[in-house]
């Protein structure tokens, strides 16, 4: 596994203790044991600086945005709008107004489906997704299929969980209008070859939506280098507050999109005869937004950007390699997802215990893992399992967490093996 082999120098350089120290929740024991939090792919924990940004907003600079002429509203509006620029920087968008704030990846994908999709897709038009998509990148397209008669095509993955590119090329055709694809599989950890997928899709005349929920915490992301047309991500997986996120949409495309939710803050003028909409991105942000959360997302982006990214990549590669090696030593383990190119996510099953029982027993040892279908039931069906145990890592994760996981699996074996 060349891409996941540990690079001891970079990994050793990463100041893990300093990172961990910033996460108050990691100091709290779980069932009397040190917490080994291995569920960052579901939601990452928050550094103190993010928690402070949210509480300081409410304590010192809170008012509704874009409305009041008074000082507090001006300060809140400025702090809120500044996050657009931070988000632009994070993903290297060209302009601030290409960033639409959302409640998370799910809303971002639904926005594309309901706005761009309803306006541009008709019967027989094809949307190509992959077999490893999260439900949030399946269901919005099925809703559109039922409404508009579009055709949903699914690119399969192989026994390791790698996308079968030959099948992708075969399924890509003249009717393909959109390729909606994840950057990293949440259930398998597979990193998708976007550098190949996106040019092929564009050559076929299709647009590309990238689900960046799992990608952005692990991979340097440059939407212009990738060339994607839409990129959706969630703040809460990037060490930010829940209910935050953004959709990037290329400005020339965004200018023509119809609004999808009507309300306050997205209009220029309203009479009972006619409404003139605000310009993007505000046209897509109806209602009072998640002000404090978005300011917290700004703090998370600043915090994340300041990390040593080479060190972080090496640290996460080390966790993946070490975790994989240690788990392979556990009797009865079957890894689910062994693609050559993987992010720091390890899914597995045991041949003598159901994931749900494993999760309960691990929890008693202070080890928090996700057990279930990970909102990716087609992936579970592919491997003919109902559920898996998933250990997923973040910047604060350590080899100690993995050791705690492996030791706790010993307890599972004692009961069930």
């Amino acid at each position: 596994m060349p891409d996941t082999a540990p690079r001891p120098n970079d990994a050793a350089r990463f100041d893990l203790a300093a990172v961990r120290d910033q996460f108050p929740i990691l100091k709290q024991p779980s069932h009397g044991k040190p917490l080994a939090f291995l569920d960052s792919a579901a939601s990452a924990q928050k550094p103190q600086i993010v928690i402070d940004a949210v509480s300081d907003t409410y304590a010192r600079q809170y008012a509704n945005v874009h409305r009041g002429v008074y000082e507090l509203s001006e300060r809140a509006s400025a702090a809120y709008e500044a996050v657009r620029g931070k988000t632009k920087g994070l993903i290297n968008a060209a302009r601030d107004d290409e960033i639409v704030f959302t409640s998370g990846t799910t809303e971002g994908i639904n926005l594309v489906a309901q706005s761009w999709g309803r306006a541009n897709l008709g019967p027989g038009d094809e949307v190509l997704i992959t077999e490893m998509e999260h439900h949030s990148n399946i269901v919005p397209w099925q809703m559109l299929r039922d409404e508009k008669g579009i055709v949903l095509k699914v690119v399969p993955f192989d026994a390791d969980g790698a996308l079968i590119m030959e099948e992708f090329e075969k399924l890509l055709g003249p009717r393909t209008k959109l390729v909606a694809v994840t950057q990293v599989s949440n259930a398998l950890g597979t990193i998708l070859p976007l550098d190949r997928i996106i040019p092929l899709a564009h050559d076929a005349g299709a647009l590309v939506l990238v689900d960046g929920a799992q990608g952005i915490p692990h991979l340097p992301t440059d939407v212009r280098a990738l060339g994607c047309d839409f990129y959706a991500f969630s703040g809460h997986k990037l060490y930010g507050p829940t209910g935050t996120g953004a959709l990037y949409c290329r400005s020339d495309l965004l200018a023509d999109l119809p609004p999808w939710m009507g309300g306050g803050d997205m209009i220029l003028s309203v009479t009972f005869e006619k409404t003139e909409y605000a310009a993007p991105p505000h046209k897509f942000e109806a209602g009072t937004p998640n002000i404090a959360g978005t300011i917290g997302l700004g703090a998370a982006i600043d915090w994340f950007a300041a990390l040593d990214h080479e060190g972080l990549a090496a640290h996460e590669a080390d966790l993946l390699a070490y975790g994989t090696e240690r788990l392979m030593e556990v009797p009865g383990v079957r890894l689910i997802g062994t693609a050559p190119d993987k992010a720091a996510v390890i899914s597995f099953v045991l041949d003598y215990a159901h994931p749900h029982d494993v999760g309960t027993i691990l929890d008693q040892q202070g080890v928090a893992v996700r057990t279930g279908h990970h909102c990716a039931q087609p992936v579970m069906d592919h491997f003919d399992v109902a559920a898996t145990v998933r250990a997923s890592f973040g910047a604060y994760s350590s080899r100690d967490d993995i050791d705690a996981l492996v030791a706790a699996l010993g307890e599972v074996r004692e009961l069930f093996g």
């Binding site: 309960t360 279930g372 279908h373 579970m380």
Partner: protein, 149 residues
């Protein structure tokens, strides 16, 4: 480990490894599907009801140790009872795994006390009750899939 032994008692481990009345017993005239979307567990419960008596009951599907053992124990207890008795058992069992107080069940349902430990694990109550809800639906003749969430 002692806490976990309360949850995973020997009886539960035994029933989960060798579930009783597993597989579709025929003939049957009632059936229902149960689904726990949290973990993907799915069961189908089959029953043969004649003259108001549950003459046979069986189940198939896959689930965790708690849900499988509970399903297995359910089939043993319900078989031979009247429909009303079976439904009453479901109510008693539901009380057992959700009640705040530690009140053991009466003698007829004594076997189920092994599942009382589930009370300490709120996320697992739905595992324990899945097959019971499904049995109840089968007796009610409800066609919809039962969902415990």
């Amino acid at each position: 480990m002692s806490d976990l032994r309360d949850l995973y008692q020997e009886v539960i481990l035994d029933h989960s490894r060798s579930p009783r009345n597993f597989g579709h017993h025929e003939p049957s005239n009632r059936e229902a599907k149960g689904n726990n979307p949290l973990c993907g567990d799915k069961f189908t419960v089959y029953a043969l009801v004649e003259d108001g008596i549950v003459k046979d009951v069986s189940f198939e599907g896959r689930g965790c140790a708690i849900s499988t053992a509970s399903a297995s124990l359910m089939t043993e207890l319900v078989k031979g009872k009247t429909e009303e008795q079976a439904k009453a058992m479901f109510e008693c069992f539901h009380q057992l795994v959700t009640a705040d107080k530690d009140e053991p069940l009466d003698e007829a349902l004594d076997k189920l006390n092994v599942l009382a430990g589930v009370r300490g694990y709120p996320m697992r109550v739905k595992c324990a009750t899945l097959a019971w809800h499904t049995m109840n639906a089968a007796l009610e003749g409800t066609d919809d899939t039962v969902v415990t969430e």
